[in-house]
Protein backbone atom coordinates (compact mmCIF):
# COMPACT_ATOMS: atom_id res chain seq x y z
CA UNK A 1 0.00 0.00 0.00
CA UNK A 2 1.06 3.53 -0.74
CA UNK A 3 2.48 5.25 2.34
CA UNK A 4 0.59 8.46 1.54
CA UNK A 5 -2.70 6.66 1.70
CA UNK A 6 -2.44 5.73 5.38
CA UNK A 7 -3.78 9.10 6.42
CA UNK A 8 -6.71 8.67 4.05
CA UNK A 9 -7.48 5.26 5.47
CA UNK A 10 -7.51 6.69 8.97
CA UNK A 11 -9.67 9.68 8.08
CA UNK A 12 -12.38 8.06 6.01
CA UNK A 13 -12.12 4.27 6.10
CA UNK A 14 -15.60 3.79 4.64
CA UNK A 15 -14.82 5.61 1.40
CA UNK A 16 -11.48 3.87 1.00
CA UNK A 17 -13.14 0.52 1.48
CA UNK A 18 -15.83 1.34 -1.05
CA UNK A 19 -13.23 2.48 -3.55
CA UNK A 20 -11.19 -0.69 -3.61
CA UNK A 21 -14.00 -3.21 -3.52
CA UNK A 22 -16.12 -2.57 -6.57
CA UNK A 23 -18.14 -5.64 -7.39
CA UNK A 24 -19.35 -5.46 -10.95
CA UNK A 25 -22.44 -7.41 -11.85
CA UNK A 26 -22.45 -9.60 -14.93
CA UNK A 27 -24.96 -7.76 -17.01
CA UNK A 28 -24.68 -7.96 -20.77
CA UNK A 29 -26.49 -5.51 -23.00
CA UNK A 30 -25.55 -5.04 -26.61
CA UNK A 31 -22.15 -5.55 -28.13
CA UNK A 32 -19.91 -3.90 -25.49
CA UNK A 33 -19.88 -7.01 -23.35
CA UNK A 34 -17.33 -8.45 -25.78
CA UNK A 35 -14.73 -6.16 -24.16
CA UNK A 36 -15.45 -7.38 -20.66
CA UNK A 37 -14.10 -10.98 -20.76
CA UNK A 38 -10.52 -9.80 -21.55
CA UNK A 39 -10.89 -7.14 -18.86
CA UNK A 40 -11.75 -9.55 -16.09
CA UNK A 41 -9.41 -12.33 -17.16
CA UNK A 42 -5.64 -12.51 -17.28
CA UNK A 43 -5.06 -10.18 -20.24
CA UNK A 44 -6.04 -6.99 -18.38
CA UNK A 45 -6.98 -8.49 -15.00
CA UNK A 46 -9.49 -6.17 -13.42
CA UNK A 47 -8.74 -7.58 -9.98
CA UNK A 48 -5.68 -5.32 -9.86
CA UNK A 49 -8.19 -2.49 -9.50
CA UNK A 50 -10.38 -4.34 -7.03
CA UNK A 51 -13.10 -5.06 -9.57
CA UNK A 52 -14.52 -8.54 -9.36
CA UNK A 53 -17.54 -9.70 -11.35
CA UNK A 54 -20.37 -11.34 -9.45
CA UNK A 55 -23.48 -13.06 -10.64
CA UNK A 56 -26.20 -11.64 -8.41
CA UNK A 57 -27.32 -8.02 -8.09
CA UNK A 58 -27.66 -8.39 -4.33
CA UNK A 59 -23.88 -8.74 -4.04
CA UNK A 60 -22.84 -6.08 -6.54
CA UNK A 61 -22.34 -2.34 -6.39
CA UNK A 62 -21.11 -1.49 -9.87
CA UNK A 63 -23.41 -1.73 -12.87
CA UNK A 64 -21.72 -1.53 -16.27
CA UNK A 65 -24.16 -0.86 -19.10
CA UNK A 66 -22.25 -2.23 -22.06
CA UNK A 67 -23.98 -1.12 -25.20
CA UNK A 68 -27.37 -0.24 -26.64
CA UNK A 69 -30.35 -0.66 -24.35
CA UNK A 70 -33.52 -1.99 -25.89
CA UNK A 71 -36.85 -1.47 -24.22
CA UNK A 72 -36.98 -5.07 -23.03
CA UNK A 73 -33.50 -4.74 -21.54
CA UNK A 74 -34.38 -1.49 -19.81
CA UNK A 75 -36.95 -3.35 -17.76
CA UNK A 76 -34.26 -5.78 -16.59
CA UNK A 77 -31.77 -2.96 -15.95
CA UNK A 78 -34.18 -1.10 -13.68
CA UNK A 79 -34.99 -4.24 -11.74
CA UNK A 80 -31.30 -5.06 -11.38
CA UNK A 81 -30.39 -1.54 -10.32
CA UNK A 82 -33.13 -1.42 -7.71
CA UNK A 83 -32.01 -4.71 -6.20
CA UNK A 84 -28.41 -3.63 -5.71
CA UNK A 85 -27.43 -2.55 -2.18
CA UNK A 86 -26.21 0.98 -1.57
CA UNK A 87 -23.76 2.50 -2.30
CA UNK A 88 -24.08 1.64 -5.96
CA UNK A 89 -22.50 3.12 -9.04
CA UNK A 90 -23.46 3.00 -12.70
CA UNK A 91 -21.15 3.46 -15.66
CA UNK A 92 -22.43 3.69 -19.22
CA UNK A 93 -20.03 2.01 -21.64
CA UNK A 94 -20.02 3.01 -25.31
CA UNK A 95 -21.87 5.73 -27.14
CA UNK A 96 -25.23 3.98 -27.35
CA UNK A 97 -26.38 4.48 -23.73
CA UNK A 98 -25.28 8.13 -23.94
CA UNK A 99 -27.55 9.24 -26.77
CA UNK A 100 -28.55 6.23 -28.82
CA UNK A 101 -25.39 6.24 -30.94
CA UNK A 102 -25.88 4.60 -34.29
CA UNK A 103 -29.24 3.30 -33.06
CA UNK A 104 -30.65 6.80 -32.68
CA UNK A 105 -33.22 6.22 -35.40
CA UNK A 106 -34.44 2.93 -34.06
CA UNK A 107 -37.89 2.12 -32.80
CA UNK A 108 -36.87 -0.01 -29.84
CA UNK A 109 -33.65 1.30 -28.30
CA UNK A 110 -33.79 3.99 -25.66
CA UNK A 111 -31.79 7.14 -26.32
CA UNK A 112 -30.76 8.62 -22.97
CA UNK A 113 -30.10 6.10 -20.25
CA UNK A 114 -29.82 8.74 -17.54
CA UNK A 115 -33.51 9.53 -17.85
CA UNK A 116 -34.35 6.14 -16.40
CA UNK A 117 -31.58 5.36 -13.94
CA UNK A 118 -28.85 7.69 -12.61
CA UNK A 119 -25.46 7.26 -14.27
CA UNK A 120 -22.24 8.27 -12.52
CA UNK A 121 -19.90 8.18 -15.48
CA UNK A 122 -19.76 7.62 -19.19
CA UNK A 123 -17.17 5.98 -21.40
CA UNK A 124 -17.47 7.39 -24.90
CA UNK A 125 -16.51 5.50 -28.02
CA UNK A 126 -17.74 2.78 -30.31
CA UNK A 127 -16.22 0.44 -29.14
CA UNK A 128 -14.12 1.79 -26.28
CA UNK A 129 -10.91 -0.11 -25.64
CA UNK A 130 -10.76 -2.33 -22.54
CA UNK A 131 -8.27 0.09 -20.96
CA UNK A 132 -10.98 2.73 -20.83
CA UNK A 133 -12.79 0.65 -18.23
CA UNK A 134 -9.77 1.14 -15.96
CA UNK A 135 -9.66 4.85 -16.71
CA UNK A 136 -13.33 5.00 -15.79
CA UNK A 137 -12.69 3.08 -12.59
CA UNK A 138 -9.85 5.36 -11.52
CA UNK A 139 -12.12 8.34 -12.27
CA UNK A 140 -14.76 6.67 -10.14
CA UNK A 141 -12.23 6.38 -7.32
CA UNK A 142 -11.63 10.11 -7.47
CA UNK A 143 -15.33 10.77 -7.52
CA UNK A 144 -15.93 8.54 -4.51
CA UNK A 145 -13.08 10.31 -2.70
CA UNK A 146 -14.61 13.71 -3.33
CA UNK A 147 -18.15 12.53 -2.65
CA UNK A 148 -19.31 13.16 -6.22
CA UNK A 149 -20.51 9.67 -7.12
CA UNK A 150 -23.94 10.20 -5.64
CA UNK A 151 -26.14 8.65 -8.30
CA UNK A 152 -27.98 6.44 -5.83
CA UNK A 153 -28.82 9.45 -3.64
CA UNK A 154 -30.08 11.27 -6.71
CA UNK A 155 -32.28 8.29 -7.52
CA UNK A 156 -33.75 8.37 -4.02
CA UNK A 157 -34.30 12.11 -4.08
CA UNK A 158 -35.80 12.34 -7.57
CA UNK A 159 -37.54 9.00 -7.59
CA UNK A 160 -40.77 10.51 -8.84
CA UNK A 161 -39.05 11.86 -11.97
CA UNK A 162 -37.34 8.57 -12.74
CA UNK A 163 -40.45 6.51 -12.12
CA UNK A 164 -42.47 8.78 -14.39
CA UNK A 165 -39.96 8.39 -17.22
CA UNK A 166 -39.85 4.63 -16.74
CA UNK A 167 -43.62 4.42 -16.87
CA UNK A 168 -43.71 6.53 -20.01
CA UNK A 169 -41.61 4.00 -21.91
CA UNK A 170 -42.54 0.72 -20.28
CA UNK A 171 -46.20 1.35 -19.59
CA UNK A 172 -47.58 0.00 -16.34
CA UNK A 173 -44.66 -1.25 -14.21
CA UNK A 174 -45.31 -4.61 -12.59
CA UNK A 175 -43.24 -3.97 -9.48
CA UNK A 176 -43.95 -1.62 -6.57
CA UNK A 177 -42.01 1.64 -6.18
CA UNK A 178 -38.66 1.28 -4.43
CA UNK A 179 -39.04 4.51 -2.47
CA UNK A 180 -42.20 6.31 -1.43
CA UNK A 181 -43.22 8.79 -4.13
CA UNK A 182 -43.52 12.25 -2.61
CA UNK A 183 -44.95 15.33 -4.23
Amino acid sequence: MDRNQIIKWLRQPDKMAQKYSLWAIYFCTGCGIIEVPPVITSRWDAERFGVIPVAAPRQANLLLITGYVSIKTLRAIIRTYEQMPEPKYTVGFGSCPINGGMYWESYNTIKHLDKYIPVDGWIAGCMPRPETIFIAITHLWTMIDKGMATGYKKYKGNYKYYRKNQEKILGELDWPPLYPIRD
Binding site: G100, W104, I169
Partner: protein
Protein backbone atom coordinates in the same frame (compact mmCIF):
# COMPACT_ATOMS: atom_id res chain seq x y z
CA UNK B 1 -26.98 -29.26 -61.89
CA UNK B 2 -28.81 -25.93 -61.75
CA UNK B 3 -29.48 -25.87 -65.50
CA UNK B 4 -31.28 -29.20 -65.42
CA UNK B 5 -33.37 -27.99 -62.48
CA UNK B 6 -34.21 -24.83 -64.43
CA UNK B 7 -35.43 -26.83 -67.41
CA UNK B 8 -37.43 -29.10 -65.19
CA UNK B 9 -39.14 -26.20 -63.45
CA UNK B 10 -39.91 -24.44 -66.72
CA UNK B 11 -41.43 -27.55 -68.24
CA UNK B 12 -43.56 -28.34 -65.19
CA UNK B 13 -44.99 -24.91 -64.37
CA UNK B 14 -46.41 -22.04 -66.37
CA UNK B 15 -45.63 -18.37 -65.67
CA UNK B 16 -42.32 -19.10 -64.06
CA UNK B 17 -39.06 -17.20 -64.49
CA UNK B 18 -35.79 -18.77 -63.48
CA UNK B 19 -32.54 -16.82 -63.34
CA UNK B 20 -29.10 -18.14 -62.51
CA UNK B 21 -27.07 -15.25 -61.05
CA UNK B 22 -24.30 -17.44 -59.67
CA UNK B 23 -23.12 -21.00 -59.96
CA UNK B 24 -25.04 -22.51 -57.09
CA UNK B 25 -27.89 -20.08 -56.82
CA UNK B 26 -31.30 -19.86 -58.50
CA UNK B 27 -33.84 -17.06 -58.41
CA UNK B 28 -37.33 -18.28 -59.21
CA UNK B 29 -40.10 -15.74 -59.78
CA UNK B 30 -43.57 -17.22 -59.52
CA UNK B 31 -47.18 -16.17 -59.18
CA UNK B 32 -48.59 -16.23 -55.69
CA UNK B 33 -51.07 -19.03 -56.46
CA UNK B 34 -48.23 -21.39 -57.33
CA UNK B 35 -46.19 -21.05 -54.15
CA UNK B 36 -47.42 -24.20 -52.40
CA UNK B 37 -47.18 -26.28 -55.57
CA UNK B 38 -43.62 -25.22 -56.38
CA UNK B 39 -42.51 -25.62 -52.78
CA UNK B 40 -43.86 -29.14 -52.49
CA UNK B 41 -42.40 -30.00 -55.91
CA UNK B 42 -38.98 -28.81 -54.78
CA UNK B 43 -39.30 -30.60 -51.46
CA UNK B 44 -39.93 -33.80 -53.34
CA UNK B 45 -36.75 -33.13 -55.33
CA UNK B 46 -34.67 -33.13 -52.14
CA UNK B 47 -34.66 -29.41 -51.36
CA UNK B 48 -36.05 -30.05 -47.93
CA UNK B 49 -34.59 -27.22 -45.89
CA UNK B 50 -36.39 -23.89 -45.51
CA UNK B 51 -33.62 -21.49 -44.51
CA UNK B 52 -35.60 -18.30 -44.12
CA UNK B 53 -38.60 -16.36 -45.28
CA UNK B 54 -37.89 -12.71 -45.88
CA UNK B 55 -40.04 -9.84 -46.97
CA UNK B 56 -39.51 -6.66 -48.97
CA UNK B 57 -41.88 -3.72 -48.90
CA UNK B 58 -42.21 -2.19 -52.40
CA UNK B 59 -44.25 0.77 -51.29
CA UNK B 60 -44.26 2.59 -54.67
CA UNK B 61 -45.86 -0.24 -56.62
CA UNK B 62 -48.01 -1.30 -53.68
CA UNK B 63 -46.69 -4.83 -53.28
CA UNK B 64 -45.03 -7.00 -50.68
CA UNK B 65 -42.41 -9.40 -51.97
CA UNK B 66 -42.06 -12.65 -50.05
CA UNK B 67 -38.84 -14.59 -50.56
CA UNK B 68 -38.56 -18.24 -49.57
CA UNK B 69 -34.95 -19.35 -49.23
CA UNK B 70 -34.62 -23.09 -49.78
CA UNK B 71 -31.52 -25.20 -49.88
CA UNK B 72 -30.43 -28.76 -50.07
CA UNK B 73 -27.81 -30.51 -47.99
CA UNK B 74 -26.95 -32.87 -50.84
CA UNK B 75 -25.82 -30.52 -53.61
CA UNK B 76 -25.55 -27.16 -51.83
CA UNK B 77 -27.90 -25.30 -54.18
CA UNK B 78 -29.56 -22.20 -52.81
CA UNK B 79 -32.98 -21.40 -54.27
CA UNK B 80 -34.85 -18.15 -53.80
CA UNK B 81 -38.56 -18.30 -54.54
CA UNK B 82 -39.92 -14.81 -55.02
CA UNK B 83 -43.55 -13.90 -55.13
CA UNK B 84 -45.46 -10.66 -54.89
CA UNK B 85 -48.67 -10.09 -52.95
CA UNK B 86 -50.95 -7.09 -52.66
CA UNK B 87 -49.90 -4.51 -50.10
CA UNK B 88 -53.43 -3.28 -49.51
CA UNK B 89 -54.93 -6.52 -48.25
CA UNK B 90 -51.65 -8.00 -46.92
CA UNK B 91 -52.99 -11.55 -46.71
CA UNK B 92 -51.34 -14.75 -47.80
CA UNK B 93 -51.57 -18.47 -47.16
CA UNK B 94 -49.25 -20.25 -44.78
CA UNK B 95 -46.69 -22.79 -45.98
CA UNK B 96 -46.70 -24.79 -42.74
CA UNK B 97 -48.19 -27.87 -44.52
CA UNK B 98 -44.97 -28.10 -46.57
CA UNK B 99 -42.34 -26.72 -44.19
CA UNK B 100 -43.15 -26.86 -40.51
CA UNK B 101 -40.46 -24.41 -39.45
CA UNK B 102 -42.14 -21.66 -41.44
CA UNK B 103 -44.28 -20.95 -38.40
CA UNK B 104 -41.76 -18.72 -36.61
CA UNK B 105 -40.70 -16.90 -39.78
CA UNK B 106 -44.28 -16.15 -40.66
CA UNK B 107 -44.89 -14.98 -37.13
CA UNK B 108 -41.98 -12.55 -37.39
CA UNK B 109 -43.19 -11.21 -40.75
CA UNK B 110 -46.67 -10.84 -39.31
CA UNK B 111 -45.25 -8.78 -36.48
CA UNK B 112 -42.84 -6.63 -38.46
CA UNK B 113 -44.78 -6.16 -41.72
CA UNK B 114 -48.35 -6.91 -40.72
CA UNK B 115 -48.96 -9.68 -43.25
CA UNK B 116 -51.69 -12.05 -42.15
CA UNK B 117 -50.88 -15.71 -42.90
CA UNK B 118 -54.11 -17.69 -43.15
CA UNK B 119 -53.78 -21.04 -41.43
CA UNK B 120 -50.89 -20.12 -39.15
CA UNK B 121 -52.08 -21.12 -35.68
CA UNK B 122 -49.81 -18.94 -33.59
CA UNK B 123 -49.68 -15.34 -34.76
CA UNK B 124 -48.77 -13.66 -31.47
CA UNK B 125 -46.07 -11.04 -30.69
CA UNK B 126 -42.53 -12.38 -30.90
CA UNK B 127 -39.90 -9.64 -30.46
CA UNK B 128 -41.76 -6.43 -29.76
CA UNK B 129 -42.58 -5.62 -26.17
CA UNK B 130 -46.13 -4.33 -25.64
CA UNK B 131 -46.19 -2.68 -29.03
CA UNK B 132 -49.11 -0.38 -29.74
CA UNK B 133 -48.19 1.18 -33.11
CA UNK B 134 -48.40 -0.22 -36.61
CA UNK B 135 -45.87 -2.71 -37.96
CA UNK B 136 -42.46 -0.99 -37.72
CA UNK B 137 -40.75 -2.43 -40.79
CA UNK B 138 -43.23 -1.03 -43.29
CA UNK B 139 -41.80 1.78 -45.34
CA UNK B 140 -44.62 4.15 -44.46
CA UNK B 141 -43.95 3.80 -40.72
CA UNK B 142 -42.28 7.09 -39.75
CA UNK B 143 -39.54 5.93 -37.41
CA UNK B 144 -38.14 9.41 -36.82
CA UNK B 145 -41.49 10.79 -35.77
CA UNK B 146 -42.04 7.78 -33.52
CA UNK B 147 -38.62 8.18 -31.88
CA UNK B 148 -39.16 11.86 -31.22
CA UNK B 149 -42.60 11.29 -29.77
CA UNK B 150 -41.76 8.26 -27.62
CA UNK B 151 -38.29 9.04 -26.33
CA UNK B 152 -38.61 12.81 -26.19
CA UNK B 153 -35.57 13.64 -28.31
CA UNK B 154 -35.16 16.01 -31.25
CA UNK B 155 -32.90 15.47 -34.22
CA UNK B 156 -30.05 17.82 -35.04
CA UNK B 157 -31.54 18.76 -38.45
CA UNK B 158 -34.82 19.75 -36.85
CA UNK B 159 -33.04 21.95 -34.32
CA UNK B 160 -31.26 23.72 -37.18
CA UNK B 161 -34.55 24.35 -38.99
CA UNK B 162 -36.09 25.83 -35.88
CA UNK B 163 -33.18 28.21 -35.42
CA UNK B 164 -33.44 29.43 -39.00
Amino acid sequence: MNKSLKEELESNFKDIQVNIPEDNRLIINIKKEQVLNVLSFLKGKGYNRLVLISCVDWVKIGKFELIYHISSFENGLHLMLKTKIERETARFITVIPVFKNAQTYEREIWEMFGIEFEGNPRLIPLFLDRWKEGPPFRKDFDIREYVERTFGVTSRSQEKEEKE
